[in-house]
Symmetry: C2
Subunit: 382 residues, 2 copies
DNA sequence: TTGAAAGCGTTACCAG
DNA sequence: CTGGTAACGCTTTCAA
């Protein structure tokens, strides 16, 4: 624990000045006769009502002016100016809860990700946030920690909050909760771990094709005994990648040996254990195709512990780019996903749907990934 | 652009069944006589009103039961059960906007970070999200991209949304907008890039001390000519770290040479440029202390391009842990910040303040960092 | 050109 | 034990 030795400088409670213009002080308690309702926090902010009272006009006139409908309702220039000036002066901002209630729209979108500590996932947030800011939307986030139950709760929470749109990077094991969505649910876009047979907009990389390319790369270097370190079984992501691996081998007339396909999750731990299992059963293997960056990191650790060198003792290709791989003892050859593009697409699709652009039907978008060749694959010379 | 070659599978609009129990269908349009208000989206959900009508009871009774005040108001067990069953059956969830409006509390907290793609920042989100979920709070996020103007807008947006608490990882260049906060602003906790003279709760690492330790480490290995690659100037984070570096040198009676302190931001680009500048002016330098992980990555690239080896040609200590450094050609010796602890603390403080726990005054918490010794520092033998 | 008033869905006060 | 009713702050209809 890092708890010991902490220096705490206790300070006084902030005494910053109240920003409410004194001119508006008459509004601080609009009804001083009535007692404050229980459970209400006493921070009186200006309201249309209080402003109307002060400017001797009505709430609706102010509302109109603020919503840019001044000319539409032919409100006198002078009145408009008076209102705008005053509102600016006291820094008035309408109450979003009241607006949401009245308009039945929240100006919020939701984002559900497996892990906030992994930039691979949080990258999507960049585009959602940018686009949301442009449109004056808020972004709400929830982390699932790859737990389906949490994901279901998260979606339920978002719907409960009446978000106007939702981007989900699903755990990928179950899709029932997506199928069960009510027809009046807000637009939803799935990212990466998709379900091809689901009638929802989805954006992902062409996993099978990318895997085929990676496997072919190893084959081109003469490798024939290639292990595949898979991720979470029964997810489309893992299965599609394994499928690509199989396709590549089969196409060259090499039989697929199922004992070479090992691992059970997209984690370092799985990668680490896979190495042990592999070397025990198939010490003659000459190359590994790892299905994610985390799996790779775990495998690398296991190889290092055994004094095995990449690529001298074993060649390696990994799915996903890794921050700083170019400085690794052996810079890794990887399949690099267009992560930024995935985020941008998902965001675009989401807001198109929010805007009710019906030209945009439910789509299943497959983006291409690139092989980046570095030095972790060596010619196999038996 | 990755746009080419995309396969789009156009699907039909989802036709999932409406989840509203048929028993509740009488509520779908409560007032079919009245036309729908303009601007309102037609997705009728059950309300207390509609449920009350159906169960032949009143809104307040239902409200009480749902808020666990059934026994307090001595509502008949039978009634309670009837209500709970039905509410569960139709999957009713109260309208949050109406609750917010009525209670004047939003059950939302805000999180403002410089960059969503950097796990160093997003790690805080893990704790905020976990704690928020426990308490049934929502988490809203905004990214500033290290731009003060954006930060000011972000804070303004959060206040506008009436979040009940706010965690900010500030840009760090300006603090005026924090000073100007109204006294009725929600609790705010600052993280990492702090302003020691600000009367706000702040959580950060002891930058000066950590820097001193790092510099001492280099001094212990015999280095005397040590460069310091600083970050964004005029931020407490950078200045405190430089201060620690100065202190260590001075304590050993070694004069501080300002021409050895170079760099202008916490970016790879700054680190890269610093190497060029350093080698041009002081080719005799034997060690570098880099003030952030990004700076380090940039510097490493520059060294590699010049064929300079770490640590044979130059020793290096870096602030911040880097994912996978143990696999680097030269595993780096770093100052590892207790990032998880920082996030946990900030979250704890925030929710204590939200709960109005006044035992918790404004605090400036300094957490200790650790030196993790690997192989990037070599004995200096002239 | 403006305003009064009716809700949006909830909770709390009071009255039975 | 239960329910009517008045807010909360906003937007829009309708009337002037």
């Amino acid at each position: 624990m890092q708890t010991a030795g902490i220096k705490e400088v206790i300070m006084e409670q902030a005494q910053t000045p109240n920003r409410l213009d004194p001119i508006h002080r008459g509004h601080i308690r609009l009804r001083p006769d009535k007692p404050l309702r229980k459970g209400m926090r006493n921070m009186q902010k200006p309201t249309l009502h209080s402003i109307a009272k002060y400017l001797d006009t009505s709430t609706c006139t102010i509302s109109r002016v603020l919503n840019g409908k001044g000319s539409q309702y032919r409100i006198a220039e002078a009145t408009q100016e008076r209102i705008l000036n005053y509102v600016k002066k006291i820094n008035y901002r309408p109450n979003v809860a009241a607006q949401s209630l009245r308009l039945n729209r929240t100006r919020e979108v939701g984002l559900i990700l497996p892990d906030f500590a992994n930039p691979f996932y949080t990258n999507v947030a960049k585009y959602v946030a940018t686009e949301a800011r442009k449109r004056n939307y808020s972004v709400q986030i929830i982390e699932t920690e790859d737990d389906t139950k949490t994901e279901i709760d998260a979606i339920s929470h978002m719907l409960h909050c009446r978000v106007e749109g939702l981007i989900v990077w699903p755990v990928g094991l179950e899709s029932k909760h997506f199928r069960d969505l009510a027809s009046n649910a807000p637009p939803i876009v799935l990212v990466d771990r998709c379900f091809p047979d689901l009638k929802l907009s989805q954006v992902t990389v062409d996993n099978a094709l990318s895997s085929e390319i990676a496997t072919n790369h190893l084959l081109d270097f003469g490798h024939r005994e290639i292990a595949c370190f898979q991720g979470l079984e029964h997810t489309a992501t893992s299965e599609d990648r394994v499928e690509g691996y199989r396709r590549a081998l089969t196409a060259r007339g090499i039989g697929v040996d199922d004992s070479l396909i090992i691992g059970d999750s997209f984690t370092q731990s799985s990668g680490y254990r896979s190495v042990g299992q592999l070397l025990a059963s198939r010490p003659s293997v000459s190359a590994v195709f790892s299905l994610s960056n985390q799996i790779t990191l775990g495998a690398l650790r296991a190889f290092a512990e055994r004094g095995l060198n990449v690529p001298d003792d074993i060649s390696m290709v990994s799915f996903d780019e890794i921050d700083g791989v170019e400085f690794f003892a052996t810079p890794l050859t990887v399949i690099s996903q267009p992560i930024a593009e995935i985020g941008r697409r998902a965001t675009e699709v989401l807001f198109e749907k929010i805007d009710g652009n019906d030209s945009c039907k439910e789509q299943y978008q497959l983006l291409p990934a690139n092989l980046i060749s570095r030095s972790s694959v060596k010619l196999f010379a038996q």
